[in-house]
């Protein structure tokens, strides 16, 4: 459409834009699955039908504006009705619509057939990250945006995958029919990967089904598409499609890593180790609201520097991080993080960000807290269903 993108860039460019690659994509891409290609074909078919109708209608209109303007056509005609014509231009569009509805129905029925999957993955939307659980495989993890906050604030350069990169992509095997069971933990999100033509709302309390089958290995990027709060724009979806053998190796590696993490929780941690580990967790999970330096965005997101909770007794601090605060944006991180990560981030918050309590919270402390809580509520492990809590 633009023949001289560089010229335009030169005319329009600002400091930040000079890093941007000129991208004048004007159309949807066909994508990489059978479904996405048939959706693309459908899209192009309707588009060209619209163009044809547009050329016809606007052609007549422009001709009339040109040839029947008062200076050329001072005596207007007086006709104002023609039943035959009016019936005709009701019936013809109806026929065109039927012609469009047929392929649309066929594609829709194909998309709505998630039967006989090779693999089931539960996708859960959280504010503002995705959780992936491989059903029957005992593998699950969170996927957080990995773009640095400094890049968003223009203090660091932006790369090509700015805002579309995550720490842990969803990994699926090529050639397999993967069924996604989509739900959410807090508000409605929507899981979208354009190249796969998969978009499904993630709704708390409900499980939606959708599926994909990607032929070739590759990396495909998308984003949450339902407004889900403050960081809606910072909730990318990345899907890595691996060859079946690579996928199996990856899965084995994940299982081994899970065992490793369990062992880590049992060992002794020094305060310095916890603080170092905690900083990583803080940057992924907390900095979005409480800011990198802990100053917060009052009144919605209180400062951690000097806060009563972060400098008060350990138990209160553990409680709010594990259980969150109902009715506020403070989420319960208990189910999202391991004992080690929770201990680390709490220790970090108490001994950094301008705080210097001097104590440390160990993975053992978290374990004890969790056990006390379960005993107190008379709940069995794993039975942590959300209670009906009017807010």
């Amino acid at each position: 459409m633009m023949r001289h993108p560089r010229l335009w860039m030169g005319l329009l460019s600002c400091s930040a834009l000079s890093q941007a690659q000129a991208a004048w994509d004007v159309n949807m891409r066909p994508g990489v699955t059978e479904v996405s290609r048939s959706v693309f074909d459908l899209h192009m078919t309707i588009f060209w039908i619209c163009v044809a109708i547009g050329v016809l209608v606007f052609g007549v209109m422009f001709w009339s504006m040109f040839a029947h303007r008062r200076s050329r056509h001072p005596q207007p005609a007086h006709f104002h009705e023609n039943t035959k014509v009016e019936v005709l231009w009701t019936v013809i569009p109806l026929l065109i619509l039927i012609a469009m509805a047929v392929p649309a129905t066929r594609t829709l029925l194909h998309i709505y057939d998630p039967s006989e999957p090779d693999l089931d993955i539960q996708v859960t939307g959280y504010q503002w990250k995705w959780h992936y659980k491989y059903l029957g495989e005992d593998v699950e993890f969170f996927s957080n945006m990995s773009t640095a906050r400094e890049a968003i604030g223009d203090q660091a350069p932006k790369n090509d995958h700015y805002l579309l990169e995550v720490d842990e992509p969803l990994v699926i095997p090529a050639g397999a029919k993967v069924r996604f069971l989509v739900t959410a933990a807090d508000v409605i999100h929507s899981w979208w990967v354009p190249e796969l033509a998969v978009k499904k709302d993630a709704i708390p309390g409900f499980i939606n089904e959708t599926w994909t089958r990607v032929g070739e290995p590759g990396l495909y990027r998308g984003q949450c598409t339902e407004l889900c709060g403050k960081d809606h724009g910072f909730m990318p979806v990345v899907v890595e499609v691996k060859a079946p053998a690579d996928y199996s190796a990856w899965l084995a590696g994940r299982k081994a890593a899970a065992a490793e993490r369990a062992a880590q929780a049992a060992r002794e941690w020094t305060r310095e180790e916890l603080i170092a580990q905690g900083e990583q967790v803080y940057r992924t999970a907390c900095a979005a609201c409480h800011q990198l330096g802990g100053q917060g965005v009052p009144p919605a997101f209180p400062a951690l520097t000097g806060s009563a909770i972060a400098t008060g007794p350990k138990e209160g601090h553990i409680d709010i991080v594990v259980n969150g605060k109902p009715g506020t944006a403070m989420a319960a991180f208990g189910k999202q993080f391991s004992d080690v990560d929770l201990a680390a981030v709490i220790t970090y918050e108490r001994n950094a960000l301008g705080n210097a309590v001097g104590d440390s919270v160990t993975p053992q402390d978290i374990h004890t807290f969790r056990q006390a809580q379960e005993a107190g509520q008379g709940m069995q492990p794993g039975q942590s269903q959300p209670q009906s809590q009017p807010q």
Partner: protein, 530 residues
């Protein structure tokens, strides 16, 4: 506006049939022209306020990265921009036009329920003061989008959401009263001989719009009341953990929301159906089919709401029904477009400002209709849904459809309202700058949407940078141009070439049979319509 004393009453100083003097004239007025004027000024104020919020949005999106506002505030701006434009700018503008023009067009002395008319206007400033005041409250204003989907708006909203709910209730009451007034006026106060099928189309489309309003505003009131119950009284309408259903919110909201988009379009259809024949100097083609098409669109608008929800996981039978029903809307809408084009065909066309806006309305609204047709195809909608393609679509429908329709009407009737001709040169500048700005702002949004940019995000990947910058430049141009309109209207009120009773040689209708400006009281003796 200067008061005109009717002939025969001159000299009766103790009993002038003009407006009262001073500020209280505007507070207590029951005169349809005064109330129409109040509505129009209110709407323009809201338009500038909602527009300046759009400017903040476009300034933040001018380049990648966060420069001007933080995401919380960005979400408040997108929410308030939508709410103010829908409820504060477009709807009151049409009610203002209805108040001014319907009595003049049907030969009535005033609206049927003048005191209620005063009340329904004055509710609006109260409602909008409440709504806008939430921005200054602790925790900020509404930040959940103008569609305020639960549970984001119930469980995770700022505390000001209660004020937002009350404001919506007040606006709803105001709209319903306005609608009742239009229905009562059109059905009861038509001049002798003016049968329904002789009525100007603006009155027809407003009559149908009024029924839509009465049908759906209570639904909106219902959904916000359910929210209020969930937030404060422990119910679980939209909370799955308590046995409720977040999707229920969307069904109820869109049962209001879809007819609402026609509420914002139909009166413009009517106005354009007067303006195009006037400047084509030819009767409207297919009056009867225009009336039936409007009725058909109104009916269909009630059975297609779930096309806003193709991705919520409806059963396939539901998707198919809503897809087919939505596609059908193209038929009556197509009939209207074909009729307008046929009205122009072999006419004797001139292009004064009202006609320029009306022609742009037809072209750009049709483009919005095409993208609407694309969106109706459910499998393709999975790719378009909640991307900038949708933003492009509804701005192509609403900016030319509603706003250009209102500008066309304003220029068309300004001479009747003020008694002066507006400045045609400035009006053309206003048109062309608006036209270029609008297209530059919204056309590139189709491209970034198709390339994968979600809507309602404060920051984006670098691949979307160039088109976003163009969009922002277009939006700034469009926004700044509206100040020109303000200047032009003030200039026209203060003076200018006097307007004759019928300043447009091709115009038809009772409103052109009274002097310009229209006397404060008109048609105290009903005119005869043959």
């Amino acid at each position: 506006m200067s008061a005109v004393i009717e002939p025969g009453h001159a000299g009766h100083d103790e009993h002038p049939h003009g407006p009262a003097r001073g500020l209280m004239r505007w507070v207590l007025t029951t005169n349809h022209k005064d109330i129409g004027t109040l509505y129009l000024w209110f709407s323009f104020t809201a338009f500038l306020l909602g527009g300046s919020m759009a400017m903040i949005i476009r300034a933040e999106l001018f380049q990648p990265g966060l420069q001007i506002v933080q995401p919380e505030f960005f979400n408040q701006m997108t929410t308030m921009h939508g709410l103010i434009m829908v409820f504060g700018a477009v709807m009151p503008a049409f009610v203002g036009l209805a108040n001014w023009m319907i009595p003049l067009m049907i030969g009535a002395p005033d609206m049927a329920l003048p005191r209620m008319n005063n009340f329904s206007f004055w509710l609006l400033p109260a409602a909008f003061s409440l709504l806008v005041s939430t921005l200054f409250m602790e925790g900020g204003g509404p930040n959940f989008g103008w569609t305020f989907y639960a549970p984001l708006s119930t469980t995770f909203a700022p505390e000001s959401v209660t004020f937002f709910i009350f404001a919506i209730h007040l606006m709803g009451i105001s709209s319903i009263m306005g609608a009742i007034n239009v229905i009562a006026t059109v059905l009861n106060l038509r001049a002798p001989g003016m049968t329904l099928m002789k009525m100007p189309l603006f009155c027809w489309t407003w009559l149908i719009t009024a029924f839509l309003l009465i049908a759906v505003m209570p639904v909106l009131a219902g959904v916000v009341t359910m929210m209020l119950m969930d937030i404060h009284f422990g119910t679980s309408f939209f909370n799955a953990a308590g046995g409720g259903d977040p999707v229920l919110f969307q069904h109820v909201f869109w049962f209001f929301g879809h007819p609402e988009v026609y509420i914002m379009i139909l009166p413009a259809f009517g106005a354009v159906s007067s303006i195009i024949p006037t400047f084509s100097r030819k009767p409207l083609f297919g009056y009867t089919s225009m009336v039936y098409a409007t009725g058909a669109i109104a009916f269909l608008s009630f059975i297609v709401w779930a096309h806003h929800m193709f991705t919520v996981g409806m059963p396939v039978a539901g998707e198919l029904f809503f897809m087919y029903a939505t596609m059908l809307i193209a038929v009556p809408t197509g009939v209207k477009v074909f009729n307008w084009v046929s009205t122009m065909w072999r006419g004797s066309l001139t292009f004064e400002a009202p006609m320029l806006f009306a022609v742009a309305f037809v072209i750009l609204f049709t483009i919005g209709g095409f993208s609407g047709l694309m969106l109706s195809i459910a499998p393709a909608d999975f790719q378009y849904h909640d991307t900038y393609f949708v933003v492009a679509h509804f701005h192509y429908v609403l900016v030319p459809g509603a706003i250009f329709g209102i500008f066309a009407s304003a220029y068309y009737w300004l001479p009747k309202w003020t008694g002066h001709m507006y400045d045609e040169t400035l009006a053309r500048w206003h048109f062309w700058l608006s036209f270029v700005g609008m297209n530059l702002a919204f056309f590139p949004m189709h491209f970034v949407g198709l390339a994968g940019m979600p809507r309602r995000i404060p920051d984006y990947n670098l691949q979307f940078a160039d088109f976003n910058m163009l969009s922002s430049i277009g939006a700034f141009l469009f926004g700044a141009t509206q100040l020109l309109f303000l200047y032009l209207v003030i200039k026209c009120i203060r003076g200018g070439e006097p307007a004759s009773a019928k300043p447009w040689d091709g115009a038809h209708g009772l409103e052109w049979s009274v002097p310009s400006p229209a006397p404060y009281h008109t048609f105290s003796i009903p005119p005869e319509v043959k």
